[in-house]
């Protein structure tokens, strides 16, 4: 189970609301490489994972992703406070506002709602860990793109923190892949899938 701690992993203190920034940053909540998908990916994949140590990495990275869902949501909440209808229309935030007011809802920047079709839990050790490595890099690229478009230090600071975490998670998944392969048949990693073909050698 999980227990909540009433604190953000890293502080979010945004002085100036900016719905235009919220429109793009929301992709890291409900977009194809966002934090909701990241947490669900690792927390679902760990069930079929046969190696305890790799389960630990998936559990702890997946748990940290939940803290990132909260951080991105806090950024969005603070970017959309005290808006006037004029500001909402001018910034283009109106297309989101009409459906969600300033409530936080997981969508991509394109407006496409969060979809589990954007990640995999394949039930295959090597496939899942390679998906995780790619996922961390894709999220890192998205944060890089956000940093290319955003010019407010209050916003860039927590985004830079989140970007750095993608790199650390990537390193830990490199370790996870090594640990998995150390447990597998080095003569043929693809001879069988230890998450399914139990008992085979």
């Amino acid at each position: 189970m999980w227990q909540y701690e009433k604190k953000l992993q890293y502080p979010v203190n945004i002085k100036n609301p900016n719905p235009k920034y919220a429109k793009i940053i929301i992709s890291q909540l409900g977009g194809p490489d966002g934090e909701v998908g990241a947490s669900l990916r690792y927390l679902t994949q760990r069930m079929a994972m046969p190696y305890s140590q790799v389960i630990g990495i998936l559990t702890d990275v997946g748990t940290e992703e939940l803290a990132h869902v909260e951080m991105v949501s806090a950024i969005l909440y603070q970017l959309t406070r005290n808006l006037t209808p004029e500001e909402i229309v001018k910034s283009g935030f109106d297309t989101y506002f009409v459906d969600h007011t300033t409530g936080i809802y997981p969508v991509a920047a394109s407006g496409y709602p969060y979809s589990a079709s954007q990640f995999q839990s394949k039930g295959d050790v090597l496939t899942d860990l390679n998906e995780d490595l790619a996922a961390e890099q894709k999220a890192r690229t998205t944060y890089d793109n956000i940093l290319r478009l955003v010019d407010d230090p209050d916003v860039c600071d927590p985004i830079k923190f989140l970007r750095a975490r993608e790199i650390v998670h990537y390193q830990r998944f490199c370790d996870a892949l090594r640990i998995a392969q150390d447990n597998m048949d080095s003569k043929n990693f693809y001879g069988y899938n230890p998450a399914f073909d139990k008992g085979k050698k």
Partner: protein, 85 residues
Amino acid sequence: MNTDSRERLMREIQIYSFAVYEALLYLDAYPDSRAALDYYNKYKALEQKAMSEYQRKYGPISAPDNASSWQWTEGPWPWQNEGKR
């Protein structure tokens, strides 16, 4: 209530918690690293000390073990920084 010192103490907790979590992820991959374990233990103790101080002064961070009154649902919640603009 002094918002500045509350914020400073929360920042201290966030720094220690970050060190703890970073060491935790590392230990998942390198459980035999004595240096990482020492680092984890050191920052876990500092985190717990700062958390106890914060909770004594400003209310619970996690649901309390034993409460004389129910402060858990009192704000501000972590994303609410309204007072600081």
